[in-house]
């Protein structure tokens, strides 16, 4: 049985992290399930727990220069109720679990759990979000796609705590979020598509496409996005099939208890194709 702590400040939390190797616990909804034992028993945590959900420093949503900062203990419901949270993130949050769980769960927890099927993670990739990681020695900001390194794996250092999620200003003109879940609500993902684009004067200024639960981490290709950015819709249309083929190579799903590899692959590519051909290339000026 492990110990648990309730630090009263971030500083105290850093000390606990350093001295006890305590695991940050914000909403805890992922940790409670991951380490669940059996009915009536305390979960089998491998390390001491420190509760952080009550720390005011972590409970703020702040406007920052060119974006939004979301404290690690802000719940999903609080994000849904906030005016400045980008629509695609809200759409993803509405597909996660149900109101009761969203009142407890945080996106910071979702990120640190690093499930390839994490729905908010997929939307945050499409928003080009980053994470602020603080330690007694300082802080660093990493893009999400670098922070998450594999299923259940992140680049969180032993002395660090994820304190904020940084979302750059969302300037997209179109977006598409689609979760294919195991049912219509309160569902886990079979796969997820999050995609945004900024189109002006028949040109793609920005485009980001993220596909969740079809590879060990969320699929996003900076290279393919760069190939499309700054180019006219007409030009991109000519290369669309090549681009789709390149995405196809990146989508490498597996069979599991929720779906099959062949379905995930087909539907993921249907959705990417739909976004590119059916949404982006249908914009004015194409």
């Amino acid at each position: 049985m492990v110990d648990s702590y309730r630090p009263l400040s971030l500083k105290e939390a850093f000390d606990l992290r350093a001295e006890k190797g305590a695991m940050p616990f914000a909403g805890g909804t992922d940790l409670m399930v991951r380490y669940r034992y059996e009915s009536g028993a305390i979960p089998d945590y491998p390390r001491p727990i420190m509760f952080l959900g009550h720390l005011d420093d972590l409970r703020k949503i702040r406007r920052i220069e060119h974006g939004l900062s979301i404290g690690a203990a802000v719940t999903m419901t609080e994000l849904l109720d906030h005016d400045e949270v980008p629509e695609i993130l809200k759409e993803s949050l509405l597909t996660i679990a149900a109101p009761g769980l969203r009142n407890t769960a945080t996106i910071a927890g979702n990120i640190c759990n690093a499930s390839p099927a994490g729905d908010s993670i997929c939307a945050l990739y499409a928003l080009d979000a980053g994470v602020k990681l603080q330690s007694p020695g300082g802080e660093r900001i990493e893009p999400l796609y670098q922070f998450i390194t594999g299923p259940g794996k992140t680049d969180l250092h032993a002395d660090e705590i994820l304190t904020e999620i940084i979302i750059p200003e969302d300037r997209s003109t179109i977006h598409l979020f689609k979760k294919v879940g195991t049912r219509r609500a309160n569902a886990l993902s079979k796969l997820t598509l999050s995609a945004v684009a900024r189109i002006s004067d028949g040109r793609i200024d920005e485009i980001r496409i993220a596909v969740g639960a079809v590879a060990p981490t969320v699929v996003r290709s900076l290279e393919l996005e760069k190939k499309m950015e700054g180019r006219s819709l007409k030009d991109v249309a000519l290369e669309a099939e090549d681009i789709l083929r390149d995405y196809d190579a990146l989508v490498q799903p597996i069979d599991d208890q929720r779906s099959t590899a062949v379905y995930r692959k087909r539907v993921a590519m249907n959705l990417v194709r739909h976004f590119l051909l059916g949404v982006v290339l249908q914009q004015k000026g194409a």
Binding site: R6, T29, M32, I42, F51, A97, A98, T104
Partner: protein, 157 residues
């Protein structure tokens, strides 16, 4: 072990226990508040729903250590309120109850909804109860019960 101070149904409690124990177990085992049920133990079914500081939570997903200073309302507390009675009556009249194991949780979710949105549409009621699973009723009469409670209890929330 630690001492956790919190209130349940308006009464203050100071409990010495392991902060990692689930709120669900504290309610059911230590305080004998068995209106809260365990259906799945992983936040999927909503049978263990309570209000924590005014919002709906799954008590199986809450370590008691995170309840310091919190106000918890369980079915035992809600049923004594005028709002709770309105929901219970509306459920009874709508045929919302069959085996009853999910129903206290449904009542909590209904209360949470009506506090936020006193005149919900059918769609909003369905969304608000989407984390509360029922295997008997097919949900239609529960949704009727929610809408009936809202209509009958106008002004209560």
């Amino acid at each position: 072990m630690a001492t956790i101070n919190f209130s349940i149904n308006g009464t203050s409690h100071a409990i010495d226990t392991d902060p990692l124990r689930r709120l669900l177990d504290i309610l059911r085992e230590d305080l004998k508040l068995t209106g809260v049920k365990e259906g799945c133990g992983e936040g999927e079914c909503g049978a263990c729903s309570v209000l924590k500081d005014g919002v709906l939570v799954n008590s199986c997903m809450i370590p008691i250590g995170t309840c310091e200073g919190s106000e918890i309302i369980t079915p035992e507390g809600l049923r004594e309120t005028v709002q709770g009675k309105a929901i219970i009556d509306a459920y009874g009249e709508s045929g919302a109850v069959q085996c009853g194991f999910c129903t206290p949780g449904m009542m909590m979710a209904t209360e949470a909804l009506l506090r936020k949105n006193p005149s919900p549409t059918e769609g909003e009621a369905r969304e608000a109860l989407s984390g509360n699973l029922c295997r008997c009723t097919g949900y239609d009469m529960i949704i009727d019960g929610v809408l009936k409670a809202a209509e009958r209890g106008k002004g209560l929330w």
